[in-house]
């Protein structure tokens, strides 16, 4: 069968994974048009895309590069805030929703990638547990810095403060966009399921192609035997930074999708703290390290379980704790 369609094993496998996503999209769209999807499921579609993108992008660092990163929620936070800030700022200037969202998407991804590189360069001298601890700390720092940022705009331009909103000294008619711990409110809700699925497909195609390329082979060789890889002349730092940046960029994309789904965005320990990073890691571990399709399915199943077990009241929390601790 593989021979007949003239593909090698991994391409065939990848096509199936993409096929599953497209099939799921078509089935859900048909069900929505016939009105047989519950409001809960409809509301969960975009978050599911967010978690799938997060799981796939973390799989690149954890599964392919083999380094334990616990700062993934931090990169998501950067992407979410950068893009939501842009969308709030230009809400009146750019009225074409898709154009604005596209620019927001690029801004979110680029900002997260820059943070990925900033963090990767000093941290990647570390290995194993030490790397995990440092990335965890960086994720927490990002969240805490966002929580003390006050940014507003008025007729004279953009004002910034790390103290409080009164310190911005905004002119009459000024608007505080990032209100410290209160985050950003009134973000235009530009995300939808179709955009989410397109982004999932883009993430998958990019990650799959990286794995298959010479870059991917270099990255896996670092994972399997660092010394051997070094001895054949692979620049370890370069490939680690590349992987970290790409992984962070897609976490940023997930953040953009997340921040444009709800009208309020705050950086709480719950959504951008280390608990979230660990939850994403659980998706990857449960789905299988380096297995794109597995992490996708794990993300979907683990997000749906607590919602569909609402009838069990408090007991439904048990499965998550088991996963996280």
């Amino acid at each position: 069968m593989k021979k007949k369609i003239g593909m090698n094993k991994s391409t065939y496998n990848n096509m199936i994974t993409l096929g599953i996503v497209v099939a799921a999209y078509i089935i859900i769209q048909i069900l929505i048009s016939t009105g047989s999807v519950s409001s809960l499921m409809e509301g969960l579609l975009v978050p599911l895309c967010v978690y799938v993108i997060l799981a796939i992008s973390l799989n690149l660092t954890v599964g392919i590069l083999g380094e334990l990163s616990l700062g993934h929620a931090g990169f998501m936070c950067v992407g979410a805030f950068a893009s939501a800030f842009f969308s709030r700022l230009t809400e009146d200037l750019i009225t074409a929703t898709y154009l604005r969202f596209l620019i927001a998407l690029i801004i979110g991804a680029v900002c997260a990638a820059i943070f990925g590189i900033i963090i990767a360069v000093p941290v990647l001298r570390l290995k194993g547990d030490y790397l995990a601890i440092t990335t965890l700390a960086f994720g927490e720092i990002i969240k805490n810095v966002v929580n003390v940022m006050y940014v507003g705009k008025d007729s004279t331009g953009i004002h910034f403060s790390m103290k409080n909103a009164m310190d911005l000294n905004l002119k009459e008619g000024g608007d505080v966009i990032i209100k410290g711990a209160q985050g950003i409110t009134g973000t235009p809700t530009d995300s939808n399921f179709t955009i989410g699925i397109i982004l999932v497909l883009v993430t998958m195609i990019v990650v799959m192609n990286i794995i298959k390329s010479s870059t991917g082979r270099a990255i896996t060789s670092i994972r399997d035997n660092r010394i051997a890889a070094e001895s054949i002349g692979i620049n370890i730092t370069k490939y680690k930074v590349i992987t970290f940046a790409i992984s962070a960029a897609f976490a940023g994309v997930a953040g953009v999708l997340y921040s444009h789904n709800l009208s309020t965005l705050t950086a709480t320990p719950k959504n951008f703290g280390y608990n979230m990073s660990i939850l994403i890691l659980v998706f990857v571990v449960l789905g299988g390290m380096g297995n794109i399709r597995g992490s996708m399915i794990a993300a979907i199943v683990l997000t749906l379980i607590p919602e569909y077990l609402r009838f069990m009241q408090d007991y439904r929390m048990l499965h998550k704790r088991k996963g996280a601790e």
Binding site: L31, V37, E140, T185, T266, V301, R310
Partner: protein, 392 residues
């Protein structure tokens, strides 16, 4: 062959998940439409697990008491109430999921959510559906941007202003220190307004010390700074968990100023392993005191104790009032359960500015609402004396 078998299994699994969702959607829709015509479906959302669980529990139980009372007395205009409460874990995303779950159940009116951040996300959704929403305790002013959302509690800015006014009018202190949580919407919201109002009232803020959600077990630095600055009163616009630690640590260094808080301190006496004698003399601005002598409060407290074995907090009282407010709005507008969600929303939000409700949280006076959703009622300060909240 193995691979193909595996693929088929995956596909079957994926299909069953989707089909399962579709199926459950169908079920709830049919049950919703077949019974919707003779009952009002009121949903509630709040945190009943996690860090803010005590508030969600209070709201859940307080509303349940009101619903039971109304149903026993023959319902609203003869229609019974169906009431269901969903958990949001104090998280915006989960709150929206809870909202969608309740919509599948057939909810027509929302009593929630309990905390501000989730409430902002949910009120954007109710505004889309034009569903009538009453929040018992979502106190941020951003909660009521939609014209379909109404508050039972004071908004955060109003709490800050009322606190500064109360301190100035009763001449409690001129030198004030503030310890607040800069990572929390509620706390920083109150602090900002308090600071600007205090200035105009001649109160000097000698120390304003912040902490964050990640760093809230050791307050010795903040307390020491307040002490060194010579503050006579420490204003705590925070939640009670941290307040107990502050009281304990202030006591251990022998610093005994007057402590003053807002409704977040309500519940401080119920904290396990907390020496309540440390809270002696703490003042808090809260709309509800469980030891008030009016019959309404006493009956409510007695029923609550009997059913749930605890003294109700302010959140339970807010929820109780929220249900009675919904009842008053329905009676005023003459709405019936066979109306659609959006028709009910239009009818009830039109009735809200016209009604006046006497409840547990208005100090016996009437509560009224502006069309914007803000409540107008009397603030009340209580002091902790001999281990109970005593109205001033």
């Amino acid at each position: 062959m193995k691979r193909i078998l595996g693929l088929i299994l995956v596909l079957v699994m994926a299909m069953s998940v989707v089909a399962g969702c579709g199926g459950s959607g169908n079920d709830t829709e049919t049950t919703g439409s077949s019974t919707a015509s003779d009952k009002f479906y009121i949903g509630g959302i709040g945190p009943i697990t996690g860090a803010a669980a005590i508030y969600g529990q209070g709201v859940k139980n307080g509303a349940q008491i009101a619903v039971d009372e109304i149903n026993a007395a023959g319902g609203i205009n003869g229609y019974q109430i169906e009431y269901k409460f969903e958990d949001d874990e104090h998280d915006a995303e989960k709150a929206v999921n809870a909202y969608n779950t309740l919509k599948d159940w057939g909810m027509q009116i929302l009593m929630g959510t309990v905390t501000s951040t989730p409430c902002m996300a949910v009120s954007a959704k109710t505004a889309e559906d034009n569903m009538f929403q009453v929040t018992p305790s979502g106190s941020s002013p951003d909660v009521i941007v939609g014209d379909n959302t109404f508050q039972i509690c004071f908004s955060d800015p109003n709490q800050g202003i009322a606190s500064a006014d109360y301190i100035a009018e009763n001449a409690l202190a001129t030198k004030v220190a503030v310890i607040y949580d800069s990572s929390d919407v509620y706390s920083s919201g109150i602090y900002e307004k308090f600071a600007s109002q205090a200035e105009s009232k001649g109160i000097e803020i000698v120390a304003a010390e912040a902490f964050t959600a990640d760093n809230k077990s050791d307050f010795s630095v903040q307390i020491q700074k307040a002490k060194d600055a010579g503050a006579e009163l420490v204003f705590l616009p925070i939640y009670y968990t941290e307040a107990t630690l502050i009281l304990k640590q202030a006591n251990s260094i022998g610093y005994k100023p007057l402590f003053f808080g807002c409704d977040g301190l309500d519940g401080i006496l119920g904290v396990e392993n907390f020496d309540t004698s440390l809270a002696e003399g703490v003042m808090l601005l809260t709309p509800f005191a469980a030891d008030a002598t009016d019959k309404l409060t006493q009956d409510f407290v007695a029923t609550y104790k009997e059913n749930y074995g605890e003294v109700p907090n302010q959140f339970a009282a807010d929820a109780y009032d929220a249900i009675y407010t919904i009842k008053a709005a329905i009676e005023k507008s003459g709405a019936t359960p066979d109306m659609s969600v959006s028709e009910l929303g239009d009818a009830l939000k039109g009735a809200m500015p016209e009604i006046a409700v006497v409840g547990l949280t208005g100090k016996g006076a009437e509560m009224t609402w502006a069309a914007t959703g803000e409540v107008s009622k009397k603030p009340m300060a209580v002091t902790i004396k001999n281990g109970v909240y005593t109205a001033n």
